[in-house]
Symmetry: C2
Subunit: 152 residues, 2 copies
Amino acid sequence: MEEVPGSVGTSASFSLRLGQTVFSTASLLFMSLGVEFYSYTAFCYLVTVMGLVIPWSFTLAMVDGYSVLVKCPLRQPGILVIIVIGDWVLSLLTLAAACSTASVVDLLLHSNSSYCPLKLCRRYQISAAMAFLSWFLSFASSLLNLWLLPSL
Amino acid sequence: MEEVPGSVGTSASFSLRLGQTVFSTASLLFMSLGVEFYSYTAFCYLVTVMGLVIPWSFTLAMVDGYSVLVKCPLRQPGILVIIVIGDWVLSLLTLAAACSTASVVDLLLHSNSSYCPLKLCRRYQISAAMAFLSWFLSFASSLLNLWLLPSL
């Protein structure tokens, strides 16, 4: 069986998972250190999704790091199916959260500045951008793992 | 080679495509018959995406209908790859548009009723719901076609 770069248990996958964890944490922090995020549904949703993505990516980063260290890639089809399904669901949820946040921030920026001081809005924008980056890495992970699945 | 229900050239696929066309058209009409959609970025984005999804789904519905009539399913790997990639891209775009629209409508409904008369807002909500239904069918199509791809 050939090795797919970026699938579970490789160093490329470790980098992808680490990137997801970093971007999700950044998105969560930029959003939740603001004081008013709980008054917008989209922002609450982003915080909830990021709260799911961070432990998932962190756990898989640990698994990948361990696999790389002991040089024994994970190849149980059952576990891989769970990882692929979890990745797909979380990647769709992240995309939805990022789009919702971006559109709400855009509306707040353009409609009326009294709702959203510029400094706060910039932080929301950075948070949405971080969520998009996290989605991009998560999408790459799920595609690469899906690619590996038929060869097992 | 076994037949995958819902892949290109079957009657299940024809129903899925027809459903996508109907829901996308409904979403576009509910949105664009309102007078103010072009003042919100998210709504313009939804209209643009629906303008891409409708011809795509309609063309594939025609192809499926023709394949069912002449009883000769489409099995060229090259064409199938193009259909799978197009489906995935359009399904992600539709999800993004539906989420953006839903979050903006939610914000408009809760923040201030002067921005959005209730009757207009209900139409935007229906439009977002139709976009979600269209995404769901489009996601099903792309999953089923992706499932068929390795067997070719």
